[in-house]
Symmetry: C2
Subunit: 200 residues, 2 copies
């Protein structure tokens, strides 16, 4: 069993969709032959509960896309408000024109064996390690990639017991929702439907 | 040219992605042979800018799915915090077991010619009228539907000039981001990357 860094906890796969269900902007990372790439993607979405699957749209111009296609592995992670500038920079620069993109953006990586080579970005609120489910038509026609989530983790300061705990955490842990032109919205107030018990 | 209800404005198609970019939970509506269905979907996502396209995951148990498949048309709309209970109810009841689902959930419909028969739900913050792009493998294997956006509108109190204006509007206009167990998060604080001008 892997020893996790402080504050990291595994998220059971049937609950991994909850990490993406509120529609945050994510970081997509992949590594091939020692070269690691990370890019920001606003167009990521849960696709299934069991097996846990997700979709992400990745432009043909992306260097990270080529690493993902070559390795068949990638990670999707949920950055937080403290990482606003990094998330923007990772979405507006490219490994293709800046070999030191990750350092210039302030992204530091770590590894967990279950991610099977996909690098993980430090300081995020949650991580989903995925195996690419090859769908060549979707990838070519729509830039649409499907991943099967094989492991997931969260920082327990932001997500614990199967639920986001934004309302109890420092606002720096809120996830980010990109619109355009450098404008993100943070995740806001919790709104509970009256009479419904928050399930486990 | 259609006369729009008060406060409604067309959204140019190349900017329609901004209605979904921040990851809100949406309502999906369709009509066939006079029968209208509306369901809530947390798994909806922008797919392309031009042509404007989106994805939405719709379970095989959904009655609205059958209306969508039969008519080839649907609408995706962005409900707001004022519609919290309606959005939850539309996601937890079915036309298959309650022929009066829409009335019981409090959903009132209206039509615009450009929606080509897809009914629109009153009181939402934005609407995207879509033509189904048939992809039988995605629909069968993943419950994944692709729509091409043919027209889009927003309530100008929530979205105007190509941008959400949550920070200027009543909090009841904030969009909703579902997690699980009756827990939504409202869209929160605007976070702007320093030095980046909000583009038009």
């Amino acid at each position: 069993m892997t020893t996790l860094p402080p504050h990291l906890a595994s998220v059971p796969l049937p609950k991994a969709y909850r990490l993406l269900n509120h529609g945050p902007t994510v970081l997509v990372s992949a590594r091939h032959e020692g070269r690691a790439g990370v890019m920001t993607a606003a167009w990521a979405c849960a696709l299934d509960l069991v097996p846990a699957r997700l979709t992400v749209v990745i432009s043909k111009a992306s260097a990270t896309r080529r690493l993902l296609e070559a390795s068949g592995r990638f990670a999707v992670q949920v950055p937080c408000a403290a990482q606003l500038q990094m998330a923007y920079a990772l979405g507006t620069s490219s490994l293709a024109t800046d070999a030191d993109k990750l350092a210039h953006c302030g992204a530091q990586l770590f590894d967990l064996p279950e991610a099977q080579g996909a690098p993980l970005v430090q300081g995020c609120a949650a991580w989903l390690a995925c195996r690419l489910l090859p769908e060549p038509h979707n990838q070519q026609a729509y830039d649409l990639f499907i991943g099967e989530v094989e492991a997931a983790w969260a920082d327990t300061r932001a997500f614990a017991g199967g639920h986001w705990r934004f309302e109890h955490a420092d606002p720096a842990w809120r996830s980010l929702h990109y619109v355009a032109g450098g404008r993100f919205y943070a995740t806001g107030e919790a709104l509970d439907v009256p009479g419904v018990s928050l399930e486990e």
